[in-house]
Amino acid sequence: MNDEFLHRIRKTPPPQFLAGLKAKLDRQASAPVPPRRWSFTRGLFTGLLLGGAAFALTAVSLTRGPESLRSLVRTPAEYFARLMRGSGQGDDKAWAPGQHQAVPLGPVWLPDRATEPSGSAAAVPTQSTGFAVKQDGHSGSVGSVGSTAPGAGSSYVGGGGSFPGPETIRVAASSDAYPIALVSANRVPRYAYHVKVELDAGDVFARLCSTDSPNRVEAVELSRRITSEEFRRCARDGNKLVEIKVGYLAIVLARAPLYGPLHLTARDLFLALARRIPDPAHPEKFINNPNTTWNQVDGSLPYDRIQVIGPAPGSAAGTLVAHLLLQGGCNAYQSIMAIRDSDPDGYENICGTLRTDGAYVQTDLFGGSSSNWAYSDLFVTNPTQIGIFRTNDPGRSRNNLVVNSVDGAEPAPAGLTAGTYSVAETVYLYTKKTHASGATAFMAFVNASLTRVSPYFLERDTWAFVPLETAEMSSSLATATALKELQF
């Protein structure tokens, strides 16, 4: 085959390139060796062996083994069956006297009644019993908190042959805080506690502070602080609130280093990216955003086209970005603040809606862990574009993108703590003192919320979450442990 014409195109790489690359590789550390995975065949064989042994042991113990062995095998099985039962309390009736009863294993807070003799129906506390105890305010029983929530699926039934379900609390969360609350709830050990997180964009404090609403919740998580009006309404009913700072939601605005960073303000961002802005001549009227270059927004900014790249506006990430980008500047307008309480939908329409005319550009590359480099590479080739990044983004660092300050602050811990960095929100958790007292489930949720997780392992929906620094975390933990009452 005469293919010489194809071979002759080959060329020797420049020696300086080869030498430079080699020197770079020699300096580069190797990643640690990953743990060796088991082959499928080996895993299957081991699984079959263990499964067979377990089956044989169970069969023997339930038929011919001594009572002690039978109990040893049966008890954990029944304990797990109890956990699986969850809220299915209606099935308790199926347990008849004379059936196998075992001493339950499990957390230390299991009621002593669980060891009472079987069949003593009169001694069995029911879900309604637990509810009544809580209603009287005797919250000394740790397990009673969850059982106060109707339909929460948590109750304990003692020696009658059933077992307590995990302690349950319900948490209402605003749209921005919902993913954070959900991830925290998933970190709580499920064998002991059940944290139900509900998305609620309405009046969550009415649900928290209510004493008789069927929809009441034990905690509320928000990406803003409680307002004085909400606090007053809650306190009017004699409630004492506990406020725990959980972390921050923050984004970084970065671009290629070629032209240096922009020094933006929250007002600039609003006037550049909101779909509708106040008419300069008549601030009470709103017009479609006419600004196309940054110097139209602020004369001191360069004559660069407004182009900010980020997640799709309709997505959860896009909604959060819209709030973070727009609300700081939006709230600076009296005419907009005037409609905040009277017309929440109108307020959201102005302060939560990004432009769709090309000034804000959505990209599918945003947020994917494997495409961080591809996303940050976009800005190297388009140096006037601004990208939305999380505070700790390896792609941004790799390309040495520069961070644009907002209102003179950069997304550093100091700016977040002081509240001077405008494109950030603080996430708070609220509960009533009476709810939290003795509630181990609530404390477990607080602990899970304050756990520091490496940003590399953050779930996709919590990409913007910034955990508290050590000092603030200690303060939050102390507040939660002492149930320090909020003073407003």
Binding site: D3, P13, L21, K24, Q28, A31, V33, A374
Partner: protein, 174 residues
């Protein structure tokens, strides 16, 4: 190459052998010298960082490295703007600057124009065979084709390219 354990591999020798091959693989694959050094660097940096992950019992080191190179190239191409169609490319080259004319007359540019009509898989085969100088067995492992199929497809491709190559040369000579 025998499959040695990662401790037994001579990394310097591997680099000396494979760096020119990866470099030329990208030249053939991209049809130009633009960004070839960047792509080669990216491939080796990724491979060297994760070389402890390399499993000699699964594949030879060249196969593993070229798999990384394929992914780097794929990543790169997915971010490029769509290519100008062949007719458009010829027009652009024809009415361009003297530098462009000179580039067009180079063998690499000529190959790029000829392979523009080929499918992605066919271009990959040409780059692996003549850029990376891999044998058909390794190419089969990288492309998912059988070894004999690789040989057959390459044979047809070379025959087709040769006819176009010399036909093109004779036209330009006139």
């Amino acid at each position: 190459m025998d499959r040695l354990s990662t401790d037994e591999l001579d990394w310097d020798a591997l680099y000396a052998d494979l760096a020119p091959r990866v470099y030329n693989y990208f030249r053939y694959r991209m049809g130009s010298d633009t960004d070839v050094e960047e792509l080669t660097s990216r491939t080796f940096e990724r491979a060297w960082r994760f070389r402890s992950h390399y499993r000699p019992d699964v594949a030879g080191f060249p196969t593993w490295l070229f798999k990384i190179a394929q992914n780097v190239g794929l990543d790169y191409r997915s971010r490029l703007r769509p290519h100008v169609p062949l007719e458009g490319a010829t027009e652009i080259a024809g009415e361009g600057s003297p530098e462009l004319e000179a580039e067009l007359s180079s063998d690499l540019a000529r190959l790029a124009i000829l392979t523009a009509t080929l499918s992605e898989r066919e271009r990959e085969l040409i780059a692996l065979k003549y850029g990376a100088s891999l044998n058909n067995r390794l190419i089969a492992g990288l492309t998912g084709l059988s070894e004999s199929n690789v040989g057959t497809v390459l044979h047809r491709l070379v025959r087709k390219l040769r006819a176009q190559w010399y036909g093109h040369a004779s036209i330009s000579d006139e």
